[in-house]
């Protein structure tokens, strides 16, 4: 089967003239449909740049990124916005909820933008809210709910459009360990039961241990890749810690 995401020889260079900085150097990898992939690496390694480039929020300097049949590296701005709307979902560390909208309205928003009929919107919102356990909160405003609830709202918003792939940038970064575990379990569940494709950037080995595969980057290049396979989450967690120790990652950050 054809991979969902194909990243081919992607470079990203910031700056001009003598003061250039290569954030990504010749990155090539693939993501299959239904995979839960983690991206790890030390600060400044290019994790977020990679995610932004894949998520079409930033454009690569060279190389191709195929999501499905579309080469997003070559798309124009307007087409990109529509592509994001129809195919991608985002979860950010700082939730990025709109505080003038209720929880329900925040989740409705991407469907409204995609011009989905009102009846269908209601059905879909109720379903996703149940999945993330926020049905009781739908009429509250973001400032009235906790961080974990906010992140579940943001995840509902990302998933309600049934995107081809979900990008999560440090989704547990601002959460306490209980909320983080709840969220990761929900994501993992979605991945297993509904075959959702998720790509998550994190520096937290615990969060990463929920993934099936982890890509490590260092100084803008892919340095290592590990698979969970048949290992338990605990075993996989140990393995991640070892790799991180090897490449000098944020071991101290663990839990």
């Amino acid at each position: 089967m054809k991979p969902l995401v194909q990243v081919k020889a992607v470079n990203k260079i910031y700056g001009k003239g003598a003061q250039t900085f290569e954030a990504l150097k010749n990155i090539t990898f693939q993501v299959e449909e239904g995979e839960f992939v983690g991206v790890m690496g030390p600060s400044g390694a290019g994790k977020s740049t990679l995610l932004n480039v894949l998520a079409t929020i930033d454009a690569p300097s060279s190389g191709d990124i195929l999501i499905g049949d579309d080469n997003v590296a070559k798309m124009k701005d307007k087409a990109l916005a529509d592509f994001r709307r129809d195919n991608l979902g985002f979860i950010f560390q700082d939730y990025n909820l709109l505080d003038s909208l209720t929880v329900r309205e925040n989740i409705v928003l991407p469907l409204a933008i995609a011009k989905v009929p009102t009846k269908e919107i209601n059905a879909r919102v109720d379903k996703i809210a149940t999945t993330f356990g926020i049905s009781e909160l739908l009429n509250k405003y973001p400032y009235q709910i906790s961080g974990g609830q906010k992140q579940r709202t943001a995840s509902s918003r990302a998933l309600v459009t049934q995107p081809k792939i979900i990008f999560a940038d440090e989704p547990t970064g601002a959460l306490d360990s209980k909320s983080a575990t709840d969220l990761l379990e929900s994501l993992s569940d979605l991945n297993e039961t509904q075959n959702a494709t998720i790509m998550m950037v994190t520096h937290d080995a615990f969060a990463a241990s929920f993934c099936q595969r982890i890509i490590f980057i260092q100084d803008g290049t892919l340095s290592k890749e590990i698979h969970r396979g048949a290992k338990t989450r605990k075993q996989f967690f140990e393995e991640i810690l070892q790799v991180l120790a090897g490449i000098g990652g944020d071991v101290n950050d663990v839990i």
Binding site: A81, F83, R84, L98, L101, V108, L111, Y141, R157
Partner: protein, 619 residues
């Protein structure tokens, strides 16, 4: 590096963010300086005999102008300071003392003030010639205005604005001393509660605006409200309207928007959800400003419409009251460049009607028809004996006695078949006249009177001849009236009024436009993260522009619509009062107002969109 250098470098580097502030300062100075220059201008006072009236009008206007400028500058200064809070916080964090920061800002303000004063006076000096020319034209003189440099105007401007600058600098100091470093670390307020509105205040709002409108259309003579409230009536009308407008923005808007939000088939489509919920906060939060803007717009449109309407009606009212170029009672004079000359023989007859006596000049039908034909007015072909037509341009159905159909008695009795509101003679010479046929004229007994009526050839210098004639008048000529002189009188007064009116109108318009601009742009700065989120979840630029222009459009449009509606009712009342039709000039004036407002709207939308787009770069 000294503080003064730091201030100077600051200014050089951040010129673009200072530009708006400097521009509004310069604008205020230009406006004030030109106005004061015109006030002190000798040409204008020399031109007009009515200079006393005009100069007092100018003085009054400059006070209004000054008040307005103070508000405007205070507003742009606080906007500017808000933008710089972060910078001040950073200096403070780096350990610069508050006193030093204050001093730095003071130097900066001083420098900005100096630059704007010089630029403002220079531009104002150039502008004053243009404005002077317009003023002279509007007053109906053909004369080219020269450059005038009035040192009085310069001194006046410098003093006024120096005081203003000291005031704004102190405002800056206050900001620094009130500021706490902890504010820097506080994130933006974590969302505000959704506005709620009470049904009661919404209903009261609608009712009070409605009541204001109703009262404005009441007739001054017949209305019982006018009888009860008398002099207080205008204040009651204005009070009701202003209060109602505030509630309209404060409560009714919340209801309307919440209803729209609940209509999911509308709100859950595209970005309508964003548009309505943003407006819900914005309109409520800015209810006071929007009310002020609506009221200012209403005032400007009403005042401008009224003055413009009067100016527009000058020709008609002159033609009604003073249709003949020169008229007087008595002997003819040598008049140059005459086109037509009539010697009118009339009789002053004393009539009795309802047991009261009144005197009218009676004019034979043949003479009337001659004059009417010459003036392009309707001729009367036949007229029965003992019948008459009253020509009385002063007639107003509300104040005057209705005489059409009445029977007047002198030595013969006369039945008035109709009453017309035009004249074929100059009212100040002859007064209202009654036309009768030849037989009736012969039969009526009265004091015979002779009038002279002249018209001049096209292209003759009417005003010069008028002045010359005026100097030749002797006892043999009574009640001299001159159309050009009357025209000049009205024109110079009305022209100056029109000028001052449009000038102030323009200032109000610019200021209100700028205030909305400042408000929306600063709110766009605060909200730009929201639009970055939207961008990330796949909103394209077209949709983004659509929601932005809808939001800005409603914030601009709502007070404008309210202002236009208020002004319409005020002008309806005004035109009823004066009994003249001012629809056409008022529509022109409103169209001009809307057009300039529209320009502001476009600029603001573009600025908003630019902020939103730039925010993505560092997302």
């Amino acid at each position: 590096m000294t503080l003064f250098n730091l201030a100077r470098k600051n200014l050089q580097r951040n010129f673009s963010s200072y530009f708006l502030y400097i521009a509004s300062m310069v604008f205020s100075i230009v406006i004030y300086f030109t106005f004061v220059t015109l006030k002190y201008n000798d040409d204008i006072s020399a031109l007009t005999g009515t200079s006393q009236k005009i100069s007092s009008m100018m003085s009054a206007s400059s006070v209004i102008l000054l008040f307005f400028i103070v508000v405007f500058i205070a507003y742009s200064n606080s906007f500017f300071m808000k933008k710089r809070k972060k910078e001040v916080a950073l200096y403070s964090l780096l350990g610069v003392r508050k006193q030093q920061i204050g001093l730095m800002l003071f130097f900066e303000n001083l420098f900005i003030g100096l630059v704007s004063l010089v630029a403002g006076i220079a531009i104002g000096f150039l502008m004053s010639k243009v404005l002077l020319t317009i003023l002279v034209r509007l007053m109906g003189y053909s004369l080219t205005a020269g450059f005038v440099f009035s040192s009085e105007a310069v001194i006046n401007t410098v003093i006024v604005f120096s005081v203003l600058f000291i005031f704004t600098s102190l405002q800056g100091y206050r900001v620094i001393y009130q500021f706490k470093l902890i504010d820097l670390f506080h994130a933006e307020k974590q969302g505000e509660a959704m506005p709620k509105a009470s049904v009661l205040s919404a209903v009261i709002g609608v009712l009070s605006v409605g009541a204001g409108y109703y009262l404005a259309l009441e007739d001054i003579m017949t209305s019982m409200w006018w009888r009860i409230l008398s002099i207080a009536m205008p204040i009651v009308i204005i009070g009701l309207t202003v209060f109602g407008t505030y509630l309209l923005f404060h409560s009714v808007s919340v209801f309307a928007l919440q209803a729209m939000k609940k209509m999911h088939s509308f709100s859950w489509k595209g970005l309508n959800l964003i548009t309505t919920s943003q407006l819900l906060y914005r309109i409520r939060g800015n209810a006071k400003s929007l009310t002020v803007i609506a009221v200012l717009s209403a005032t400007t449109i009403t005042a401008g419409g009224a003055v413009f309407g009067l100016y527009y009606n000058i020709d008609k009212s002159i033609n009604d009251n003073t249709p003949v170029t020169f008229m007087w009672e008595g002997e003819p004079l040598e008049v140059p460049q005459v086109s037509t000359h009539h010697t009118l023989a009339t009789k002053l007859v004393t009539f009795t009607h309802n047991e009261s006596e009144r005197q009218y000049q009676v004019l034979p039908l043949a003479t009337y028809n001659e004059l009417a034909q010459e003036q392009g007015k309707e001729k009367i072909t036949t007229m029965a004996s003992n019948e008459g037509v009253l020509l009385d341009p002063y007639y107003d159905e509300r104040f005057s006695e209705k005489l059409a159909g009445a029977d007047l008695t002198a030595n013969v009795s006369l039945h008035l078949t109709s009453q017309e509101t035009y004249a074929v003679t100059n009212m100040s010479t002859t007064g209202p006249m009654i036309i009768v046929n030849e037989q009736t004229y012969e039969a009526l007994e009265g004091e015979p009177t002779t009038y002279q009526a002249y018209t001049l050839q096209d292209g003759a210098d009417n005003l010069a001849i008028s002045r010359e004639l005026n100097s030749q008048l002797t006892d043999a000529q009574q009640d001299f009236t001159s159309q050009p002189a009357a025209y000049e009188d009205i024109m110079s007064a009305m022209g100056a009024m029109l000028f001052v009116g449009s000038f102030l109108g323009l200032v109000f318009l610019t200021a209100t436009g700028s205030i909305i601009y400042f408000k929306i742009v600063s709110e766009a700065e605060a909200d730009k993260d929201k639009y970055t989120i939207l961008y990330k979840i796949g909103v394209n630029d077209t949709q983004m522009l659509k929601t932005i222009s809808a939001q800005v459009g409603i914030i601009f449009g709502a007070p404008l619509a309210a202002g236009l509606l208020h002004a319409t009712f005020a002008l309806l009342g005004f035109s009823n009062l004066l009994g003249m039709s001012i629809t056409k000039p008022v529509l022109v004036w409103m169209a001009a107002y809307i057009a300039i407002y529209g320009l502001y709207y476009i600029f603001t939308t573009r600025a908003f969109y630019k902020i939103v787009k730039n925010a993505r770069g560092n997302a």
